[in-house]
């Protein structure tokens, strides 16, 4: 679906991404795994068009993805932001939906209001708000949300934006165990609906629970890409030790 080839990003003399190449397949949940400072956020910001790349290209269907193509194909959800802090969650979801072109009304999302057109969009909104347990928070300002609540509100925004690929930076950061599981289920449901997810995760346990395939990033370089068995085999081949189904061990062996 999308191929990133030789992506390079430098900050002065520091090279944050060294010839990073990987593929994103349609409808999968791809996990970008790496320790802090490995270049995960930089990679996502470059893919999302928020940071300029110094080299490499992103291809879709064999053709380079232009800025306008990118705007209609993928959406990058940053981590650690509190957008429009003086506005309510309800307003933010409505704004996102209207601005990015899904026409639905969050005011009716938590009620049993009659269906509105487009039907699917309304259903998606209702579902997202319910799945992420945002109904009690709809009238709270974003600046007043806790870290976990804000993360769920941001995820809702990302899921409401009608792009085939969602890049979410640390989607489980700040969530408790129950919320992490709920979010993982929600992401899985959306992936099952055909939407592609690319998640940057530094907690390997979270990644193992939700992702279909993994891209391992360390020091701005890709150390491995594939499913857990593929990566396990690669790790075993490199270290000469027996293959394991523990992602943490695989990650440590490959990075």
């Amino acid at each position: 679906m999308v191929h990133a080839t030789n992506l390079t990003k430098r900050y002065g003399r520091l090279t944050a991404l060294h010839d990073v190449s990987f593929s994103i397949r349609e409808g999968e949940i791809l996990g970008l795994i790496g320790p802090n400072g490995s270049g995960k956020t930089t990679l996502f910001e470059c893919l999302g068009g928020v940071l300029p790349l110094d080299g490499g290209m992103v291809l879709q269907g064999g053709r380079p993805l232009t800025a306008s193509d990118r705007a209609s194909s993928l959406f990058y959800l940053p981590d650690g932001i509190a957008p429009w802090p003086s506005q309510t969650v309800r307003w933010a979801l409505e704004f996102i939906a209207n601005f990015f072109g899904s026409s639905f009304d969050v005011r009716r999302s938590s009620s049993d209001a009659p269906p509105r057109t487009p039907h699917d969009a309304r259903r998606t909104t209702n579902g997202v708000v319910r799945d992420l347990d945002l109904e009690p928070l709809l009238d709270v300002t974003i600046g007043a949300l806790s870290k976990g609540q804000r993360k769920r509100a941001l995820l809702a925004m990302g899921l409401l934006i009608p792009r085939p690929i969602l890049l979410a930076d640390e989607p489980f950061e700040g969530l408790d165990l129950r919320q992490s599981r709920d979010v993982a289920q929600t992401l899985r449901r959306h992936a099952a609906g055909g939407r592609t997810m690319f998640l940057s995760i530094h907690q390997i346990g979270d990644a193992a629970r939700v992702c279909d395939r993994f891209v391992l990033l360390s020091g701005g370089r890709v150390c491995g890409e594939g499913t857990l068995p593929e990566l396990s085999a690669l790790a075993a081949a490199r270290s000469g030790s027996p293959a394991t189904d523990d992602l943490e061990e695989v990650f440590l062996a490959l990075t």
């Binding site: 679906m1 928020v50 940053p78 932001i81 429009w84 802090p85 704004f95 209207n98 601005f99 609906g193």
Partner: protein
């Protein structure tokens, strides 16, 4: 198992195919509608952000008392000059509300535009960057100029709301029985609107270039103070500084406050506004390499500078003052239009010599409007002229037309006209039946103004702010 109606990629592909099937015109119309819708939504968002901006509410709150102080003081002075409280009726007979009321009242807008509006604009532009909202909004395929344009439009709308304070002064003045000459009032408003536009564009550019709002505030105030320095240097050194100083916001507003609309000033101010907003649009593109943004900015500055130089050649101007404060009497203007040669004036006066200021403001500024080809050259060895008084030719004004020369020391409009008529061989025209402006004296105190500006306005603003913040909380 994936259900077809929920398949994002299938939907995406289907949408692209249907757009292609509709053909280029259909797609263009559809995308134009979509772009307009997104812009409309963004405008709503920016307005809502302005409504929750404390900086804007502070501007609104302060605007009333600021205008009130200026208006009440102006009305009192006007009344005293018109004979209130037994004072002798003096200049009030030739008093124009333009100079006596509107210029001082609206000067509060100039103060607010210089010291308060930049912070509101910086909050609106930098807020998205600080909160991270810009990273989300930038992923919409809207042009960066449209994004900045939405912010500028909302800021301008916010400025209109703040301008309700001087509008209240106009209503009060009317209720006192004061005279209003709409063209000159509209000119003052236009001047302050352009000034606000300049402030918004400058603040938007600085907020986009710098990472932090405080840096943007420092840069904006630095540019504002820089224009004052240009005015100061122009007053001392004259020459090219004097020409540049004519286009600073302070000088521009002063001309509008005198009821003069100069096309070159309007064009240059508009070009500067456009440049500022474009610069903001260039730097708001976080996904574009800094080198490319620097290159684009340099290109913009080069094109902008060329455009502004071209604008200085526009000579049209309109005197909208009821008193024709910026024009010679009509008979004199008709006579001057008969002078077809190129008039050259050489004035041996230092920049800080008060006679030079008299000559410039009472005569030459009016003369340039009638004779666009007029060439004026100031000659002096020092800036103050104090030690040049004994120098040969100092204080002389030489007029040259088609090889003929006359010299004079008179700096009044009448003296300058007399020298030109003598040089051109024209007889001094007679004004005829043209009615002379006698002014609109009004000896009334500013009744009720203190209540409006010091009590009612702050109470209304505070109430509206309370309601607004409570609604969003």
């Amino acid at each position: 198992m994936r259900s077809p109606e929920n398949n994002w990629n299938a939907e995406h592909a289907l949408r692209l195919r249907s757009e292609q099937a509709r053909g280029e015109p259909g797609r263009t119309a559809s995308s134009a509608r979509s772009a307009f819708h997104s812009f409309y939504v963004l405008l709503g968002k920016e307005w809502r952000e302005l409504m929750t901006s404390r900086a804007w509410w502070v501007l609104l709150l302060v605007m009333g008392p600021l205008v009130g102080v200026s208006f009440i003081s102006a009305v009192r002075t006007y009344a005293e000059a018109s004979g209130l409280n037994g004072t002798a009726v003096g200049v009030g007979e030739a008093f124009s509300p333009l100079v006596g009321i509107w210029a001082p009242t609206f000067s509060a807008c100039e103060l607010a535009a210089a010291f308060l509006l930049p912070f509101v604009a910086i909050r609106v532009v930098s807020g998205d960057r600080q909160s991270g909202a810009l990273k989300i909004e930038l992923q919409h395929p809207m042009s960066s100029f449209a994004r900045v344009g939405a912010k500028a439009l909302v800021l301008l709308a916010g400025w209109f709301v703040a301008s309700l304070a001087p509008a209240a002064a106009v209503v009060l003045w009317r209720s006192y029985g004061g005279s209003i000459y709409p063209p000159e009032l509209a000119t003052v408003i236009l001047g302050h609107l352009l000034n606000a536009g300049l402030t918004i564009a400058l603040a938007a550019a600085m907020a986009s270039i710098s990472d932090h709002p405080s840096t943007a505030a420092i840069l904006t105030l630095t540019v504002t103070v820089g224009t004052w320095i240009v005015n100061f240097v122009a007053a001392i050194h004259g020459g090219v500084w004097e020409r540049a100083a004519a286009y600073t916001p302070t000088a521009m507003v002063a001309e509008f406050q005198h009821g003069l609309i100069r096309l070159d000033v309007v064009l240059i101010a508009s070009a500067l506004v456009l440049m500022g907003l474009t610069l903001a649009a260039i730097w708001i593109r976080l996904g574009v390499a800094v080198r490319r943004r620097v290159f684009d900015s340099a290109g913009l500055l080069a094109v902008g500078a060329a455009a502004m130089i071209a604008c200085t050649f526009a000579t049209a101007s309109w005197d909208t003052s009821e008193s024709r404060a910026n024009s010679f009497p009509e008979a004199d203007e008709a006579a001057l239009e008969q002078v077809h040669g190129s008039l050259h004036i050489q004035a041996h006066l230092a920049p800080e010599d008060p006679r030079r200021s008299d000559l410039e403001h009472r005569a030459l500024s009016k003369l340039r409007r009638v004779m666009p080809k007029l060439q004026v050259q100031y000659v002096s060895a020092t800036s103050i002229g104090l030690f040049e008084q004994n120098r040969e030719h100092y204080g002389e004004i030489w007029y040259e037309l088609d090889g003929r020369k006359v010299v004079s020391r008179v700096t009044t409009a009448e003296g300058v006209l007399e020298a030109i008529y003598q040089l051109a061989g024209l007889t001094v025209p007679v004004d005829g039946d043209v009615a002379e402006f006698r002014g609109h004296p009004l000896a009334v105190p500013p009744k009720g103004a203190a209540t409006v500006f010091y009590r009612l306005w702050p109470a209304l603003v505070a109430g509206a702010a309370f309601f607004e913040f409570r609604r969003h909380a």
